[in-house]
Amino acid sequence: MARTITYQQAINEALAQEMERDPTVVLFGEDVSGGMGSPGEEDAWGGVLGVTKGLYPRFPDRVLDTPISESAYIGAAAGAAAAGLRPVAELMFVDFLGVCFDQIFNQAAKFRYMFGGNARTPIVIRTMWGAGIRAASQHSQALHPIFTHIPGLKVVAPSTPYDAKGLLIQAIRDDDPVIFLEHKVLYGTEGEVPEEQYTIPFGEANFVREGDDVTIVALGRMALVAQQAAAELDGEGISCEIIDPRTTSPLDLDSILESVASTGHLIVVDEANPRCGFAADIVAQVAQAAFGDLKAAPRMVTPPHSPVPFSPVLEDAYVPSPDQIAAAVREVSGAARARPA
């Protein structure tokens, strides 16, 4: 039975249900319980934004607060996985990637390959991403392009509570290293989520909206922002098809190509910075595979090549907006109409 819960609750539920089902699933990270060793309350935080609250009391032997030493405990996750556990390690903010990237991209991602197929590293690294809460440059980034670039990693970025629960359960059951990106602005959003456990396979995009004129590829929070633009454009008679890839690695390119074959127009809107980014990746792949289907040049809608600013006015200008997306759509469809037949 499905009922309405938040993105955050959906993640908590996925963790609780999988830990219940499988005794090899362990959860650790900074303050995932909170208060360990301290004189006050146990499970004081349940994660800095409360996402993992209630898990320590239920599974006291398998939920651990870590010292602030990402390279040690993310590396420990990789070692524990190689030895037979299914660790879910939390990297509090994806921006902290720098202090533990070796353990992710040189160790965990590469064990199976380097060891000739004789290793499995079933880790999940859960981490918060995205701009919008005025947390400034070092707590607001979108780094999925960096992870997507690394062979051996799988990269997941849900945009709805339904997707979050199903993809996280899939991630925990998956035998490869998975980077599970939780958009911090989406934690409070609500949606229908089944009580039962269910999975969503990686490499399957979600058609958020069907349309005939323009294909918009949008990941994470941008899937919701694109919907706002599409609603506005509907009134102008432009029908947008919005595709949320849900996972960037593996990527459901087929669905994007299917859509572009029908609409002939492509916009990719993404929160990551533009150089060597996700938007560039999608546009290049589509151009390579389906150049003949495009009736106009594809457009990328991204933030500028700058860090995330602090001041609200600046941050709002940084993150792609519905207006920017709508403008790109008009440009792309206008360009096509302007061309001689």
Partner: protein, 331 residues
């Protein structure tokens, strides 16, 4: 059958002594041969040879079970052999052949065999200690008495990951034995310069871990302290830091001219400090082992290495289509 006169905690039987000698001799012959073969240009990439430090690998690893794990360094052949990895598979891997332990996908710096608890040589200095903590965590959660051993060089002991791992192992009370193989050079730089000449054991103490420093050329000394540390970890007593002081005969990597070493330094070490000579001398003079037995092992080992090299050279290359295999379990 009398045991050799050694400190009580490391009484070994004759078979154990012979086994230890065989392991050390195998490592030595393996490395000496790779040194020669590498010079012909046939071995691709980088190799980092362990010759000189055999007593450390043997002293520690022969105490471990298959389900105990070792996280090694770029200088990992010795740990791999001592942990029971197949010598011929290792040689083929170094040659990049399909029959290698890692099917040619890893090479010297990534030799691994998880079925033997060999979590891999590691191309990243400091890559190993966090992995060992992970194995320790695994043992804790599953309530098993498995132990993890992390080898690090004096150079690696400055890496953030190493220091963080000491702290994590202490904070989480993990069954890990951290072994620093202090061979006097972090690549080319002496500890006098790269770590202010400090007593490394104090780093463990600073994190609340017991620690001890031993002569890394002395198999029996290494074994004794390792035995105590491993027993402590197995019994739930937490982690230990061991420093083994030894030296490597070859360069940081093959091709390193070692001009940073004093003239005659290596020759002197081979003559006066060699761990195999010391071991042999000790067990034969105590009357426990006949010199002939050791010579027989020497011959058998050289024959094994000869075979390994011959087979590795003759083995098939991987198929180009193997480039894309085993990136994921499923994609």
């Amino acid at each position: 059958m009398s045991a050799v006169e050694t400190p009580a905690s490391s009484e070994l039987t004759r078979d154990e002594l012979l086994d230890a000698y065989r392991v050390m001799r195998t490592i030595r012959e393996f490395e000496e041969r790779v040194h020669l073969e590498f010079a012909t240009g046939e071995i691709p990439g980088f190799v980092h040879l362990y010759a000189g430090e055999e007593a450390i690998a043997a002293g520690v690893c022969l105490l471990l079970r298959d389900d105990d794990y070792v996280a090694s360094t770029h200088r990992g052949h010795g740990h791999a052999i001592a942990k029971g990895c197949d010598v011929k598979g290792m040689m083929a891997e170094i040659y990049g052949k399909k029959t290698g332990l890692c099917h040619g996908k890893g090479g010297s710096m990534h030799i691994a065999d998880l079925s033997r608890g060999m979590l891999g040589a590691n191309g990243i200095v400091g890559g190993g200690p966090p992995l060992a903590c992970g194995v320790g965590l695994n043992a804790r959660v599953r309530q098993s008495d498995q132990v993890a051993v992390s080898f690090t060089g004096d150079g690696g002991s400055n890496q953030g990951t190493f220091l963080e791992s000491l702290n994590l192992a202490a904070a989480w009370h993990l069954p890990v034995v951290f072994v620093i193989e202090n061979n006097g050079y972090a690549e080319s730089t002496s500890p006098n310069f790269h770590q202010a000449g400090v007593d490394l054991i104090k780093r463990g103490e600073g994190c609340g871990l017991p620690g001890i420093s031993v002569d890394g050329f002395d198999f029996f000394a290494v074994r004794e302290v390792a035995s105590e540390a491993i027993a402590r970890a197995r019994a739930g007593g937490g982690a230990t830091l061991i420093e083994c002081k030894a030296s490597r005969y070859f360069g940081h990597f093959e091709g390193d001219q070692q001009t940073y070493r004093a003239p005659g330094e290596v020759e002197e070490l081979r003559r006066t400090r060699d761990c195999l000579l010391a071991f042999a001398g000790r067990v034969t003079s105590a009357g426990a082992i006949d010199p002939g037995e050791l010579e027989a092992i020497d011959e058998q080992t050289r024959a094994l290495i000869d075979e390994a090299v011959a087979e590795a050279k003759a083995a098939p290359e991987p198929d180009p289509s193997d480039v894309g295999t085993d990136v994921y379990v499923s994609y």
